[in-house]
Symmetry: C2
Subunit: 213 residues, 2 copies
């Protein structure tokens, strides 16, 4: 499958590494391709392009940009290149301007997921994977045999079903909870403040939430 | 032990029922004792008093009032009656004024736990138990044999240790994570938006978070 990944940071690189190893045609979109010079030598087979070229390339597009840069990056990607597509939004609206731990730049009455859906009404936004560390996003089985949860939020039931099937088939996710429409992204984005404090308390980011019933 | 419980709602009643069954001397504090007429017939042995009398009674005091009423209730309880004591803050700053699901009236840069600690600097506030349904707070073993988590936040390490020991001995909590100082209450209070949406998605409030490592 042709997959576009917007964002060249740790999350984008983890995604690209995994997806290219599975045989997908992967392009990473970045403003500054020189940042990926080392990565593309280490992981051959990953194409690098502009945000627009990457969005055009992808049948599915991941938003792996930093939350405070997401809307600008998506504007550059272009409405045309995102029309009708599934956009998997993994970003969190974190504000690092006051130092650590970060706060949320949006809370309560909005979310980055909703902002993106409003800005791109013809794109089917699914919020997911934003609640855990990059290595676990693409390989949940390394923790408790994959027996822990991620969440999907979105207005399009079929898009959520497709994304869930993708996460299961490609990354091995077994436990996916559909929280409801895109407004439920508020809840998962607001997991970040406890997530960063758990990282501090546990001394590692390699953990995840499991919903025990 | 003499225990004071501020708040006569579902949480306060669940706490009182459990603690009196364990042989503690329990007083519930309320503005309106008539609300507890039925409860005190069903669960004999629970005393009912004013907020001030209840705080004076307790060696440990629980804040089980609604979040938007907590500071006013604690003012009525009185600085004198709370001085030097451990105050277990279980409330969440939920705003139901816009309907369901509730939003948080505080987020990001403050928390109800911090507000209470600031208002009562001589009281040792420990934030805990605010992340799950009342029946599970006092009986975690009914879910997955107690194999799931609660969190403690507070500035006083000894108070957190005492509260953790209390939660273990009285309620059977096996898994308690010390997140750090009282500012980490922001994180656990901000779990509520995903908690209410999980309740909707799962159709039951009888679940809890487990941190899988």
């Amino acid at each position: 499958m042709n997959i576009g990944i917007l964002g060249s940071g740790m999350v984008g690189q983890a995604l690209a590494t995994k997806l290219v190893s599975l045989g997908h045609s992967v392009m990473i979109g970045t403003r500054d391709s020189s940042k990926l010079a080392e990565f593309t030598q280490t992981v051959p087979g990953v194409a690098v392009g502009s945000f627009a070229a990457t969005a055009a390339h992808g049948e599915i597009v991941f938003n792996a940009t930093a939350g405070d840069a997401s809307l600008a990056a998506l504007e550059q990607a272009g409405t045309e290149n995102l029309r009708g597509k599934i956009l998997i939004d993994m970003a969190n609206p974190l504000d690092f301007s006051q130092g650590m731990p970060p706060s949320l730049s949006i809370a309560n009455t909005d979310s980055l997921g909703e902002q993106i859906q409003r800005a791109f009404p013809e794109t089917r936004v699914v919020k997911t994977l934003n609640t855990l560390a990059a290595p676990l996003m693409v390989d949940p089985g390394q923790l408790a045999d994959g027996n822990h949860h991620i969440f999907v939020s979105g207005n399009d039931a079929e898009a959520k079903a497709q994304v869930s099937a993708f996460l299961q088939a490609e990354f091995g996710w077994k436990e996916i909870i559909d929280l409801g429409d895109i407004t439920t992204a508020r809840g998962t984005e607001m997991l970040l403040p406890v997530w960063v404090r758990l990282w501090g308390a546990l001394g590692t980011p390699m953990f995840n939430f499991k919903i025990v019933r």
